[in-house]
Symmetry: D2
Subunit: 146 residues, 4 copies
């Protein structure tokens, strides 16, 4: 699912920014690279080798999970795919910055009364990317959904 999200983002001509490690992050980057997209990995460590092999631009923060805030600050639209508490922190920071989040099999924030216009639940990668693009803060140049 993450791989398909990555591919669709790239096909839209948008860059992909994520945490740069393995799992969902690697799958999304792999999908984006398949379509010739640009991938940015904001990693928690200072060792650029920690980034997955599909990351073009590695930002080595050395800040641990505090780097989640930087990912969200740098993104124009946010898609949460699966994920645990780190993803929950990214969703929270997005809201706190007034940015909308699309959930694809991730935390369901509707259950804790997040305003409806801040949170969307998508049923498929295509719907997720469609919703993210439509609600991007910067639909033009430098549009970097996560």
């Amino acid at each position: 699912m993450a791989e398909e999200v990555g591919s669709l983002i790239a096909r839209r001509g948008a860059a992909l920014i994520c945490g740069g490690l393995s799992g969902v992050m690697e799958a999304a980057c792999k999908g984006a690279k398949k379509e010739g997209g640009l991938t940015v990995g904001v990693i928690p460590t200072i060792d650029k080798a920690d980034a997955n092999p599909y990351v073009d631009v590695v930002i080595a923060t050395g800040m641990g999970t505090a780097r989640n805030v930087i990912i969200v600050r740098s993104a124009d639209a946010i898609i949460a795919v699966d994920g645990s508490f780190g993803t929950l922190s990214e969703i929270s920071h997005a809201f706190e910055q007034g940015k909308k989040v699309v959930s694809l099999g991730s935390w369901d924030m509707r259950k804790i009364d997040v305003p409806e216009d801040l949170f969307y639940v998508a049923e498929s990668p295509a719907e997720a990317v469609e919703l993210a693009m439509k609600n991007s803060k910067n639909p033009g140049r430098n549009s970097i959904p996560f």
Copy 2:
């Protein structure tokens, strides 16, 4: 309610660490100072004058709400009082660091299936501080609940 939490923390001999600004943070600091406690304010700006007048030690991060991560990393126990998305991000970072959170009129994370042993709901300031102390990562020296 926050003021009472601050007072109870101080009476237990623990230091209070919080975001250092106004509102709930100021009330908690005020309560702690009433009881002669030590208060630490980790503020988002670089201007120490932004801290509320009840903060003893001002940590000026200049990192905006990314400072929430530092508060949680520095706390041995976490009490969430009221709060909006910034508080939600602190709760998320706490979970992600394996730290327990006591909610006092704050987000109810039980609704989104957070493991039971990570999240407690308190009905009163006394219960909140009791739960926080019991679940502190460091019940001895340097115990700094939020």
Copy 3:
């Protein structure tokens, strides 16, 4: 001079990472884009519009000049062009991370006894880029001089 450095970096097939704002940073990005290079701007604010128009990938840290550390951590080689105390902090963080710095009209760290193998003084943009490439930590993929 900064523009020429940017052009030469791009011609070598390397990405340019910098602070993303105006002045030397903008000149370097402009030079890199002239040659079809990739530019990354790690800005101090949370507003991506603060990046100069020649930045492809904007990383919005919201950390103020603490973002200097992230630039240095993410760079494989570092060229300091002109610059004031912010540049001095970047040079210091580079040394502290064991990374070499090439100075082009910037601070002369030889005067305060920095080890010779950590600091080079270049007389021209061409020499600066040559020295940076030769001393890069990662001469292959993802080589991102500053």
Copy 4:
């Protein structure tokens, strides 16, 4: 020398803020505690146990040496004792924030033409603390020299 600096800071009624680890930092904290002072350690890791035993308030940043910026931002006056490149980065960030630095056997920034009113060289702990206090940004409450 660091221990004496710590003692003198405490005797002046100021809090000591430092990097919280061993070596010079531990000596300074030890000196401050001898005189009943308050010590704050802003550590690079997320593990509060990494702080030296003389630290009262541990701020666990998990940001590595990027925490140097936070120390400088939080200090009202800065004394550099001995030190290597990490200390050099702190001195640089201080200048960049317009804060004065007193050097006690540390880097001699006069050699690279730092403005005279930003940098003092002290010959003894007593002179260092005297100069730091006189040039503090906040000589009253919350004065936290480093």
